[in-house]
Symmetry: C4
Subunit: 233 residues, 4 copies
């Protein structure tokens, strides 16, 4: 069996989404990539989380062709593989319909950087994609979803996907990534928490302003980069 350890990490990332209340029934999916072998491990489509096993994970190449596995991969596979091809430093991708982040995505609103919880993990607002055109929806829809995310990050000004590891897809829900499947799941959980806090802030005070660039930098760099001071490493 290919990629035993990565399968277990991807399974665990999927289960973390359940434990933290981000997914309902079989909604949501997590994947991981092995860059050396050029292989992606992803959750199968529509299988109950409580019977999900590492060997159920589906292995595909970076173009989404199944290499190993008898189950059908997540229906969002083509978005995952596009992100792996375009964002070459990421190691894991997560997609959920978590309630508050999806509330913003449905409103077509980005999540402003209102506080240090946000700044600790997202070095700027969490952007929202443009709505997909009818042409894109009628075409390779799942692939186009990935293109809409990438277009948002390659816009002007460009956003570094390693510094802002999530995008809300308008009228849909968030896609989140990280250096590994585990980090992608962690970011998805934090994203839902900051979406909750931003929701409270905006409903209390619609004119609320973002934190200063100085505070955004201070907190982000406290947890990221060579001068990080948080934790035990």
């Amino acid at each position: 069996m290919l990629l035993k350890r990565l399968r277990e990490e991807v399974l665990e990332a999927n289960l973390e989404l359940v434990r933290k209340g981000l997914v309902l029934y079989t909604f949501g999916n997590a994947s991981g990539v092995d860059r050396e072998q050029g292989l992606v491990v992803i959750k199968p489509s529509g299988v109950d989380y409580d019977v999900l096993k590492a060997e159920d994970m589906v292995v595909t190449d970076l173009n989404g062709r199944v290499v190993e596995g008898t189950l059908r991969p997540s229906s969002d596979l083509d978005t995952h593989t596009l992100l792996y091809r375009e964002f070459v430093k990421i190691g894991g991708v997560v997609h959920t319909h978590s309630e508050f982040a999806t509330g913003f995505a449905q409103a077509g609103m980005e999540i402003p950087a209102f506080g240090t919880t946000h700044a600790d993990y997202f070095h700027g607002p969490v952007p929202v994609s443009l709505p997909l055109t009818d042409e894109a929806i009628h075409g390779r829809y799942v692939h186009e979803t990935g293109l809409a995310i990438v277009a948002r990050f390659q816009g002007s000004p460009a956003i570094d996907p390693m510094a802002v590891p999530a995008c809300l897809v308008a009228g849909h829900a968030p896609f989140v990534w990280g250096k590994s499947a585990a980090e992608a799941a962690y970011h998805a959980v934090v994203l839902e928490a900051i979406a909750k806090m931003a929701y409270r802030t905006l409903t209390l005070k619609p004119s609320a302003g973002e934190v200063s660039q100085a505070l955004l930098d201070r907190h982000y760099l406290r947890k990221h980069g060579g001068n990080a001071t948080y934790g035990q490493n």
Copy 2:
């Protein structure tokens, strides 16, 4: 004992509502129909969920006459049986006062199709009935509740009850259905989730617009019909 398997399925659908936090105390009820025998199995009225057994379920005909069972059937029985008579393809009905869907019903507001979570299960807004007239309330009230639902679906334009398997009853709460009692319960849980998301979207942005018809179609047909691509079947 009649309909042993259906009783168990109906019991299980009722318990799923409890597990997912949709009901408080003895509120809520689920039923299933056996179309061949023309019999309905429904939860008894006001019995605690933690002592509810399959043999407590009440069996009635499609006009609500009790055929088997010593307990009084759910007080909402006449709405269930009317829906079975009018919506001839449905196999299960669920009624809850789940918090967010009821919030919309009390406001007399439909739930707009703001995103793909909605589109995956409801092929259009979840409609709200007209308020019942005093005459209807003073008459066969529970039956009239069903008529208000049916009138909403037979209005102009008509709504296909298999494509939009729920209706909010104004000033009351949702009724939800599906091909089976299990699917009706599943739809009730999804309905509450999309009501939550729509609530957040509307309180963030009261002018939020629905997804395009193309996106609504794409997601709905991804999970329904002959070309469905979701899951393992």
Copy 3:
């Protein structure tokens, strides 16, 4: 030991508030009355729920004089006893700071009868008292809290405390009652549920209107009075 069964019922009513998430730490209290003996059984003040035993309950007369018990009674005792003296048909009183009902009390807003969940238990809006005057606060404050409740029910038009078994005290929180301590606790749980639903309705649509008198009557009388049709009795 006096009133063994009532102590157990009062203990159980207090624990039901914990199980349903209505109280934090030692907040909240429930009591019951024995009308024949003219004795009240109430939770002691500030004792942790997880060590609370039936024998810790304090027994007082209807004027709040301790008859049996070594612990100090709930600091809200004088409100409870006043309600027992004035509302002569009630058998139990509950006070909580449950989150949504308290949100209304703090806003000085009654809870409108927006739907049938409300109508099933409260035959009209749940009223809010006037704020207490400085004189009342400086005087017998806890007693005055009870007077503010009673004044609201004896106002014009008068409200029947058996038909609307709760009052929000402005700037404070709800007091709830019923035929027994168990029913008072049940009503407190339902009150929080309808406060939640009314909150969603009002934030979705500030101009939302109440249900018709016909619907209010229909649902209230479905569960109350000689012609009740709900449940197995």
Copy 4:
């Protein structure tokens, strides 16, 4: 090992934050002080709560120099020590990003004293600091966070930190304190509850007014000071 009992109390205060849902992953921290020895015991930085042991706690002096412990102390240490130096009667400090209190902090809004739940523990609004200047953020940021809190309490009119045991840091989250680490954690839990209630009150009625000074005094003094009447002491 120094300060065995205090370590256990500080560990327990940290775990109470987890049990009450105030912290996500490794967010949040609690500390306690031994005034006689001039030593602070604080949670280590970024260690999972479920493996946290009393011996992992870090002991520092009042200037934040580590005296005992092999792990790096919480990254918020300098705020804790400043508060211990400036607020000389406090015995414990807690910092969380609890959801509703953080919602207010991000909006730059104080939490008004809307009700008696608030008045029981906070003798006035819970204030919000000024945003930190870029200079402060670029300098000794964590120390400056403490200075912003102290400046808010020493402003005009001054606030007694023993009567209002919490401050929201603008664009960040709450810091909370008490006579001990246990009381600081208790206050953090109550703060989140009153933030929730105030959020509901403000979204129901943006013009809602605070309780009268008389009611604020009555409730605060009911639980605090020589004439307290709550509980069994």
